[in-house]
Symmetry: C2
Subunit: 152 residues, 2 copies
DNA sequence: GCTTGACTTCAAGTGCAGTTGAAGTCGTAC
DNA sequence: GTACGACTTCAACTGCACTTGAAGTCAAGC
């Protein structure tokens, strides 16, 4: 097995479909060289990049956001342990925020929906800052977020 | 203000767009009567239903899953505090699982991606049982999930 | 030398959760 | 009596993250 990996090998090692890997490359999240045949050849560190992408998605980032993060890695050399650690650090707080929201939801579930308080005047259940709440349209504010008027 | 609410009133009180409310009705998550004019008239308890939908989405359920939950509520009478509480209970564990996954991700972020262990042989970072991992295609197993072969 | 499977590109399709727009009706306010 | 906003339906569009299919190339085994 060479130092270079085919797309099939990367797929097998990462559990990410080849179609997804091509898609990631097209979006600039990963890169590859080409063999004489025109086939992709991935450097081994791409595996860690793909792992990072998968992790980041589970945390709730979009591919665009993930690309922004990955662009912070040094180019021209293989990212070091420290490089990855630096990216990871900023995520800790992101995860903590999401956990905090879930804790609030958990409380609100019995304390708010389960009882009768849900008059929309009183509860600050949903975190307006969370990405999931800003991503795309849909239920945007419940309370705690800017509302067009003071109607309650 | 009557006991019945127009779609605009429900939207104002819930923060959910009228288009979304029509969509929810079409999908059977909420119901309405019609005024002589053909305009929708919502019973007040619909507000709590909509609140529930918003909560459930934040937790990560699809509208189909939410419908399944809502279908467990009694029909013919306004759901009681106890009815809501019963639904909510099953969610506590769901939230707990999601929190647990985030905790694992948090650890894995420094302990796994940050260091060099990410050889895909050793870490059981991603929860195979989580809905987000089963929803739609994409990165499905990393480790800990069934893989077609034993290749490492 | 030919089949088979892994690879290539490119366009179109999928699923979710809605939004947007067109064309029309309803009801209140002036 | 007419203007205006809130409502109606229906079809088509959006954004995200891919997948699928068609048509073709490449490389290895028999």
């Amino acid at each position: 097995m060479a130092t270079e990996l085919t797309i099939g090998e990367v797929a097998a090692r990462s559990g990410v479909a080849t179609s997804a890997l091509r898609f990631y490359e097209e979006r600039g999240l990963i890169t590859s060289e080409r063999a004489g045949s025109g086939h992709r050849r991935f450097a081994r560190p791409v595996i860690r990049r793909v792992a990072f992408i998968v992790f980041a998605q589970r945390i709730g980032l979009t591919l665009d956001e993930i690309k922004t993060e990955l662009d912070k890695l040094p180019t021209g050399r293989v990212p070091s342990r420290a490089d990855w650690a630096q990216l990871s650090t900023s995520w800790q707080s992101r995860i903590d925020e999401r956990i905090a929201e879930l804790e609030r939801l958990k409380e609100g579930l019995t304390g708010c929906i389960g009882c009768g308080c849900l008059s929309l005047d009183r509860c600050h259940m949903l975190n307006a800052e969370d990405r999931a709440g800003q991503r795309g349209p849909g239920p945007r504010y419940w309370l705690g977020d800017a509302r067009p008027d003071g109607a309650a």
